[in-house]
Structure formats: structure tokens, C-alpha cells
């Protein structure tokens, strides 16, 4: 039998670990999102980006006027805007990643047979998971980059360590996209999906974007430190303010674990749902 191109491509992965789940082609899934995106409306994308920017101007410069310069615990006084900018940067990465990995994925899983189609080809469930997460991540990355471009000229990123804020935002977006898709893949109804929105607001407000955690009693600080956005903000704030220490690697580790768990459960769930 003459070997077709498609077969030759698939055969390259023979014997590789996870060949049953992963064909090494998450790119194709991302390309699909890109093609679909070209014809969608830019306004929605823009609104997601503008949200944290508006928070920055309203709180950073509005509320900031009342507060004046503050000491974030480093001994150096900085403007309030510079204090909240990293928090909003982390939030941008989170928001961008969450948009595409939750509601959009929910629609694809439940209202369309898109994943059935993908999984009838030589793609595996992990290609689909990684491709969708990768696309969601990209949006988080774009938001975070956009936000940085807005705030850097304003002097809100005082340290050169701040350059690392962008790769960190990618890590953070990756984590949130993985978690978002994993959680979404287990949800069956719009009501359940509503919980995501309900949960996001307190996470955004209490994770230390606008004031240090020390204002809360100890037990509450402990609870907040479990949530990913706090780790994201600590990581990015450390970088933009140039207060870097080895302890920050725990935040990196936190997101790595989140990525791996999210990918694992998403793949497993896709396999259970669409290959049963």
C-alpha cells in the first residue's frame, strides 16, 4: 500500500511516549482558532484589554492621589499606581487566558461537535487540549504585553527585572488557561459556568492587587495565598519593583503544577467525553 502524506506524518511519532494522546500538532488546533478569530469582532478583544487599563487610571491615579506614595514593604517609596500596576498586569494575563479557555471552550464542547471532528483525525486529545490552552494563553499574553506597553512609559515599572514580567505573564496565562479549560471540561450547565464568573470577582479584589495582604487577619491571608492570582501578583510585583529573591520560585512552581494538572485533567476529560 502506498503511504500517504498524512500517514507518513503520523508514523513519525511511533513509539514515542503518549503517542495515543498526543500527535505533536497542537499548532493545527491553534491555527483553527486563528482562522475563526479573523472573522470575529475585535471589539470584544479590545474590551477585555481595556478593563485593567481603566482600573489602573481610576484607582492608580484617582485613589492614588488620596493615598500618595507608599512603601510596599521594601523600604523605598513608590507611587500607588506603581504598586497596583503589577497586580493589574497579572490580572490582564489571567483575564485573557480565562476568556477563551472557559466560555468559548464550553460552547465548543456542548453546542458544537468541533472536538468530535478534530478527534476523528490523527490528532489526539492532548493536541486539542494544548492547542486550545495555547490559544487562550496567547490572548493572556497579548493583554499582558499591551498593558506593559501602556504602563512602562508611565514609569510604573521601575526595575529592569520588569523585563521578566512578560515571560512570567505567559506562565501565568498558561496556568490559568489550563485550569480554566480543565474546570470547564467538567462543567455541564450554564449555571455551573456562572460559578466561574462569581469566583473570579473576589479572587480579583482580594488577591492583593490594590493593597498588601497584611491588612487581613492571618487566617484570611492563608486562604488568599492558596489562590493562583496572589502568586501571580507576588511574582510580577517582585519583578517590576526589582525585589527579587529565591522565594519567588515557589510562585513559578505553583504555576508549573497548575499547568501540568490542568493539561492532564483536560486531556483525560476530552478522552472520556469524545472517545468513549
Amino acid at each position: 500500500m502506498k503511504t500517504s502524506r498524512a500517514v507518513a506524518i503520523a508514523e513519525r511519532r511511533v513509539g514515542q511516549p503518549g503517542e495515543r494522546y498526543y500527535a505533536g500538532r497542537a499548532r493545527a488546533v491553534m491555527e483553527r482558532s486563528f482562522i475563526a478569530f479573523r472573522s470575529s469582532t475585535w471589539l470584544i478583544i479590545l474590551s477585555g484589554f481595556l478593563e485593567p487599563v481603566m482600573y489602573l487610571f481610576s484607582f492608580g491615579y484617582g485613589v492614588g492621589k488620596f493615598i500618595g506614595d507608599i512603601d510596599p514593604g521594601t523600604g523605598t517609596m513608590i507611587s500607588y499606581a506603581a504598586f497596583i500596576a503589577p497586580g493589574l498586569l497579572a490580572t490582564s494575563a489571567m483575564n485573557g487566558a480565562i476568556y477563551d479557555s472557559t466560555w468559548n471552550v464550553f460552547f465548543k464542547m456542548n453546542e458544537s461537535r468541533l472536538y468530535h471532528g478534530m478527534l476523528a483525525t490523527s490528532l489526539g486529545p492532548m493536541d486539542v487540549a494544548l492547542g486550545e490552552i495555547g490559544w487562550a494563553l496567547l490572548r493572556g499574553f497579548i493583554y499582558a504585553t499591551g498593558f506593559t506597553i501602556v504602563v512602562a512609559p508611565l514609569g510604573l515599572i521601575p526595575s529592569w527585572w520588569g523585563v521578566l514580567a512578560i515571560p512570567s505573564a505567559v506562565l501565568i496565562a498558561f496556568g490559568f488557561a489550563s485550569l480554566g479549560m480543565a474546570v470547564t471540561s467538567y462543567f455541564k450547565s450554564y449555571q455551573q459556568m456562572g460559578f466561574i464568573n462569581i469566583a473570579l470577582l473576589p479572587i480579583f479584589l482580594f488577591s492583593g492587587s490594590f493593597y498588601p495582604l497584611t491588612v487581613f487577619p492571618g487566617w484570611m491571608q492563608g486562604v488568599i495565598k492558596v489562590f493562583p492570582l496572589w502568586h501571580a501578583i507576588e511574582l510580577i510585583r517582585g519583578l517590576t519593583l526589582g525585589v527579587v529573591n529565591a522565594g519567588m520560585l515557589t510562585h513559578v512552581a505553583y504555576f508549573l503544577v497548575m499547568i501540568i494538572c490542568g493539561l492532564f485533567f483536560t486531556t483525560r476529560r476530552l478522552n472520556a467525553l469524545f472517545m468513549r
Binding site: 500500500m1 500517504s4 502524506r5 498524512a6 500517514v7 506524518i9 503520523a10 508514523e11 511519532r13 511511533v14 503517542e19 495515543r20 498526543y22 500527535a23 500538532r25 493545527a28 488546533v29 491555527e31 483553527r32 482562522i35 475563526a36 472573522s39 458544537s112 461537535r113 468541533l114 468530535h116 471532528g117 478534530m118 478527534l119 476523528a120 483525525t121 490523527s122 490528532l123 489526539g124 469524545f274 472517545m275 468513549r276
Partner: protein, 308 residues
């Protein structure tokens, strides 16, 4: 020596406690065109999905091109073109984008795919709809696009689950013609259908399934020979009298089937049977002598009629 492309032994599929496929055995050879017949819920689609490596079996052995679909799913799927019973086109994309991205899922280079799109559009007779969103297509057009899409990766095995459902007669005949040509090119076809004429036209060998089991297997001609007589006499006495006449009819031939609207009498000489009915003083409202078809085999094996 002929090559078994697909080998299935003791295949069982359960959904919870429900047994959808119950320990079936069969094989398909290279370049063969193999058909699945059976009433709704027989387990045809389930069996096809397991072969297509998109569903996991409960037990039994399955080998497709010497590979196990549970372990080497992506590699097996690279050989397949699949037309599922339920369309799964990408509603957010246009017709040509659907063809393009499907090829990309197989890892094919953009240029290679683009060079094929015109042919595939022509195949689907959708040249004019090239840049139309899929959601704006009619049901039959979607079906044609799904079939064209299954060819983008140049598959060795085509798995078609009720491919012509929703197609108009012209499109059906065009598709049959295309499938014939693909078969001549050495492509192996697996087809599910509820149309007996389609099964007779397209399939070298058929498998009749019911309630998850195989009822019979063989070429269309062999099945007719084994499960039916040469000829059939159809008589109608009016729907209230059919059942009443049945015992008398039973005497006259090998076997009868009483349907709500008519009685089928199976005999190698149907004309003679009709004569003896009339000689007995019974006059059916209408009568028809015809050759046995797969329809009759199906009716006998599953107790269900298709033309209703």
C-alpha cells in the same frame, strides 16, 4: 493471499450496563467494500467508531492495519477518512476553510492542501459556496462537504456512516460513482446504510446486525440465496383481511411474512403460487411478483421492514 486490513474478534461495547455490541467477529480485506446493515440501535455506528479509533471498546480484540486503535489511535486515524452519522463540520468556518483546516489537523502542509481544495469542492459540487459559512448550507450540502472533507488526507480506508442520508437522488448517484472509483483505486470502504439498493450497489460483502449481534454475513447475492427464495409474491387483501388470510397462504409456499399492508409469499416460482391462490377462490386486491432482494433478507433476519 489476501490482506485483512481490519480484524475484529469478540468485540463487545457496553455503555454502563447496556450492551451495544455483543461479542462480534468479522474482518475486512484490502480494497473490499464492506457494508453494515441493521435496524436503528443495532450497534453499527458503535462498531464503526471503535474501528475508527474514536471510541474505546469494553472487551475483545480489534486490529486496524495491524494496529490496536486503543494504543495507536492517531496513527490509525491517519489512514482513515471518516464520515460520521452526525455531521461535525466547523460551523464557524467557511466551506473552504473547513477543508483546509481538516487537512491541517492531519499535519499536511498548507500548499498541499490548497492544491486539493478545488478538486474537493468540485467533488462536493460546492464551488459556488466556497466562501460561505457552513451554517448557511443545506443539510445535503453539509453532507457532501463532510464526504469531501474525509478525502483531504487521501485515506486508505473510508468509513461512511449513512453517507447518503439527506442527499437528493442525483447527488446519491454521483456519490456512488465516486465511491466506485475510489474502490477501483484500492481504497477500502466501510459503509453503513439503510438503503438496500445502496448496499447492493456498493458492497462486496455485507453484515446484518441486530441488537449488537451479527445475524448474517456474506455477499448480497449469497445472502439473498441463503435467506430468501428466488422470487416473492406480494399480495394485498386490504389491511383488515391480511391477517385472516395468512394461514391459508402459509400452505402455498415456503414461508410468509405478514406486514400490516400486505403479505409476502416466498417461493422459487411466485407465479405458480399466485395461480393457486386464485384457484382456491381467493382474489387479492393487488398482487406483484418480483425477485427477492436484500429487503427480504433484512426482513427475515431482523423481523423489521425498512420501507415504512
Amino acid at each position: 493471499m489476501s490482506e485483512n486490513l481490519i480484524e475484529v474478534r469478540g468485540l463487545t461495547k457496553k455503555y454502563g450496563d447496556f450492551v451495544a455490541v455483543n461479542g462480534i467477529d468479522f474482518h475486512v480485506q484490502k480494497s473490499e467494500s464492506f457494508g453494515f446493515l441493521g435496524p436503528n440501535g443495532a450497534g453499527k455506528s458503535t462498531t464503526m467508531r471503535i474501528i475508527a479509533a474514536t471510541s474505546q471498546r469494553t472487551s475483545g480484540e480489534v486490529s486496524v492495519l495491524g494496529k490496536d486503535p486503543e494504543i495507536q489511535g492517531p496513527q490509525i486515524r491517519a489512514h482513515l477518512g471518516v464520515v460520521p452519522q452526525q455531521d461535525n463540520l466547523d460551523a464557524q468556518l467557511t466551506v473552504s476553510e473547513n477543508l483546509y483546516i481538516y487537512g491541517r489537523y492531519f499535519g499536511l502542509p498548507s500548499k498541499f492542501i490548497k492544491s486539493k481544495i478545488n478538486d474537493l469542492l468540485e467533488f462536493a459540487q460546492l464551488e459556488e459556496k466556497r466562501d460561505v459559512k457552513v451554517e448557511a448550507l443545506s443539510g445535503g450540502m453539509k453532507r457532501r462537504l463532510t464526504i469531501a472533507r474525509s478525502l483531504v488526507s487521501e485515506p486508505d480506508i473510508l468509513i461512511l456512516d449513512e453517507p447518503t442520508t439527506g442527499l437528493d437522488p442525483q447527488a446519491r448517484h454521483i456519490l456512488w460513482d465516486r465511491l466506485f472509483r475510489l474502490k477501483e483505486d484500492g481504497i477500502t470502504l466501510l459503509i453503513t446504510t439503510h438503503y438496500m439498493d445502496e448496499a447492493e450497489q456498493l458492497c462486496d460483502r455485507l453484515m446484518v446486525m441486530d441488537k449488537g449481534s451479527i445475524m448474517a454475513e456474506g455477499s448480497p447475492a449469497a445472502l439473498i440465496k441463503k435467506y430468501s427464495t428466488k422470487e416473492v409474491l406480494e399480495v394485498r387483501f386490504g389491511s383488515d383481511r391480511n391477517a385472516e388470510m395468512a394461514p391459508a397462504m402459509q400452505q402455498l409456499c415456503e414461508r410468509i411474512e405478514v406486514l400490516p399492508d400486505r403479505i409476502l409469499l416466498y417461493s422459487d416460482d411466485a407465479e405458480a403460487v399466485l395461480e393457486s391462490i386464485v384457484a382456491g377462490g381467493n382474489h387479492p386486491n393487488t398482487s406483484l411478483v418480483r425477485r427477492s432482494s436484500l429487503e427480504d433478507v433484512f426482513l427475515r433476519l431482523t423481523g423489521r421492514s425498512l420501507i415504512e
